[in-house]
């Protein structure tokens, strides 16, 4: 851009340049998010009355509420996701504190890298790794027998706890990164000042550290919650038949039953659910989405 060019001439050019720069993002947004969702919305709001004959209807949504399996799965998925997010936060916070405040230089970079390493392999392979460790004839049950803890190998797969472990493991990095950046921006002298004025560990954590890191905590929780709620592979592989994850219902409707209308309705309900829970979480903790996203 030539600085001496007058504003009137430069403005349309600038706008064109901006448009060109934004083009890939706009195409992506329109093509992969907006258009499919419009299509899904129309799909979900119709019912098949005869072959190739459709009429507008709320039947798909009615089915969801009338069939207990569907909404039970829905509630269970939400509750498990919230639990997984909470566990991830509890595990990630001390790790992030260590990386942000205690580790220095090389060890800091190494620790960050260690969080990243699991993402070197695909999610499927990672999850299969858990299966190798936890299945009845797997490494951990056999080790327990060898150590005399259990008499026979115990099946460790296909429990809710197994699903939680897998989800937390997959999500940890996405919680650690925003937490580290939030905690790094906390001035150490604030903690020292609080200590100097009579604060102790728990009170400083509650009154100084958490309020400061709140946008980072919220950002991490939103990302982890969304990833967990929409996860398909981990609950299916680690939970097996018992996993009852809502994304499986969507998959079943689209692929097994070939009932796209029902699947589309489920997809929309999941979107509403995640939006509602994130909104509720932000409202309960008094955060604003804008602040949180700037931290994320």
């Amino acid at each position: 851009m030539l600085p001496e060019r007058s504003g009137a001439l430069a403005a349309p050019r600038g706008r064109l340049a901006l448009l060109l720069l934004l083009a890939p993002a706009l195409v992506w947004l329109a093509g992969l998010i907006v258009i499919p969702h419009i299509e899904l919305a129309t799909l979900s709001l119709r019912a098949r009355i005869a072959p190739r004959m459709y009429e507008p209807s709320l039947a798909q949504y009615r089915t969801f509420f009338e069939e207990p399996l569907y909404w039970h799965t829905f509630v269970r998925t939400a509750a498990m996701s919230i639990l997984a997010t909470a566990c991830t936060l509890l595990i990630a916070f001390p790790a992030a504190w260590y990386i942000a405040k205690i580790a220095r230089g090389r060890s800091k970079a190494t620790l960050f890298f260690l969080c990243l390493i699991p993402f070197w392999v695909s999610e499927a392979v990672r999850t299969l790794g858990w299966m190798i460790l936890l299945r009845e004839s797997g490494v951990l049950p056999r080790a327990l027998v060898a150590l005399g803890v259990t008499a026979t190998p115990v099946e460790m797969l296909y429990h809710d706890a197994t699903i939680l472990v897998g989800l937390v493991y997959t999500s940890l990095l996405f919680m650690v990164v925003p937490l580290v950046s939030a905690l790094e921006s906390l001035d150490d002298s604030l903690v020292e000042a609080a200590y100097d004025l009579g604060g102790n560990g728990p009170s400083i954590l509650r009154q100084i550290v958490i309020p400061h890191a709140a946008p980072g905590i919220a950002a991490g929780c939103i990302v982890v919650f969304m990833l967990t709620l929409g996860n398909y592979l981990t609950p299916t592989l680690l939970g097996g038949k018992n996993s009852l994850w809502f994304t499986e219902q969507i998959y079943t409707q689209f692929i097994t039953r070939f009932n796209w209308e029902q699947g589309a309705a489920f997809g929309f309900l999941l979107l509403l659910l995640s939006t509602a829970i994130v909104g509720l979480g932000l409202a309960l903790t008094g955060q604003k989405l804008g602040d949180v996203m700037r931290r994320a």
């Binding site: 020292e192 200590y195 100097d196 004025l197 604060g199 102790n200 009154q207 400061h212």
Partner: protein, 367 residues
């Protein structure tokens, strides 16, 4: 006189380097004590040992007569004002000031009353509900001091709190700090690298260098009777002239530089003829004259060429080079504006009374 703070032979080592080296000091109740030193001299380490953030390797810190060994910072009768004040941005002004009281478990009503009274005393009545980022730099400093003083500490530690302020505000806050200290009567221990802050504010100043105190005294003693070359060079402006003692005559030494400048100065410590010495002459003790005959009688006389004029209002000075040796000399200009018309290159006469220059043996403090 009760000593609020006694530091007794305190040492702190980092590896082989002693950041604070067997240092002792005592501060009387109600006084304003400054520790002045260049960055890296160990003053922050010393302050943090008094506050309790660092444990000394050797020695003891006593506050109000009680040993602080093993006492954590949140249990010491000491509070600290941090370099960047460290006000809690997530709290209002009132919550900041009331924080310490709340941690002590004071009742809500009592906290409110005391916070209100404290904010009135520091000139911020009714500021309880303001956010910290709504305050000016000066107001923040007052909140930081109020937050500490509301706990009625035996000792208030201040870690260069004026360092981040701009010059104008810093001058203003200096005066305000001094008034606050006089008003509350709390013992202040203040660390700074700014000699003007230390001189203006303090009853006593310790000049610190490389983990040790070079000299402890009133600002006047440090300025007029420095005991070491470091103090002479660090406190106030000074012309430093290094050379050899050619003649010692009672309390007066004649020094000659390699460049051929010879001058007489008062002896500090022991100097024998032949010693390497350095003399310090303050810019304001040197008289300037266009006509050598107009210089005061007992002065030793020199002449030099004006190199540049450094106009700085009341602190204006002229830099000139002595005619024979080309040594650079800084001379304060009289505030009457008499020499405002000096031009670079002009030859002038200057002189000073030998008793107002001070000379040290160099090698005694070479370490």
């Amino acid at each position: 006189m009760q000593q609020d703070l006694e530091v007794d032979g305190v040492t702190k080592r980092y590896g082989a380097h002693a950041a604070v080296d067997a240092l002792s000091l005592s501060v009387a109740h109600g006084s304003f004590f400054s520790i002045l030193g260049p960055s890296g001299c160990g003053k922050t380490t010393l302050l943090r040992m008094i506050a309790g953030f660092i444990a000394p390797d050797e020695g003891d810190v006593r506050i109000g007569g009680k040993s602080m060994r093993g006492v954590l910072p949140n249990r010491r009768p000491v509070n600290m004002v941090f370099q960047h004040l460290a006000l809690f941005p997530m709290m209002t002004v009132g919550e900041n000031v009331g924080y310490g009281l709340a941690r002590r478990g004071a009742a809500r009503a009592e906290i409110a009353t005391r916070v209100d009274a404290m904010l009135k005393r520091v000139g911020l009545p009714g500021a309880q509900d303001k956010r910290v980022d709504q305050l000016s730099g000066g107001q923040r400093q007052r909140v930081a001091i109020a937050r500490s003083l509301v706990l009625e500490p035996t000792l208030l530690l201040l870690d260069e709190p004026l360092g981040a302020l701009d010059l104008k505000l810093r001058e203003h806050m200096k005066i305000e700090l001094k008034q606050l200290q006089a008003d509350f009567g709390t013992t202040f221990v203040y660390i700074t690298h700014d000699q003007s802050e230390a001189l203006v504010l303090s009853d006593h100043v310790a000049v610190m260098n490389a983990g040790r105190f070079e000299q402890v005294g009133t600002p006047q003693e440090l300025y007029y009777a420095p005991r070491t070359p470091f103090v002479a060079g660090f406190v106030g402006a000074n012309n430093r002239v290094a050379g050899r003692a050619v003649r010692v005559d009672g309390n007066e030494v004649t020094l000659a530089t390699g460049g051929g400048l010879a001058l007489r100065a008062r002896v500090s410590g022991a100097i024998a003829a032949g010693d390497a010495v350095e003399a310090f002459v303050r810019p304001e003790v040197i008289d300037l004259a266009r006509d050598p005959a107009l210089l005061p009688a007992p002065a030793q006389r020199f002449s030099g060429q004006v190199e540049s004029l450094l106009f700085d209002g009341a602190n204006s000075a002229v830099l000139l080079r002595e005619s024979a040796s080309r040594a650079e000399i800084r001379i304060a200009l009289p505030q009457t504006g008499r020499f405002a018309d000096l031009t670079p290159g002009e030859t002038v006469a200057f002189g000073f009374d030998a008793t107002r220059a001070i000379c040290f043996r160099t090698d005694a403090h070479a370490a």
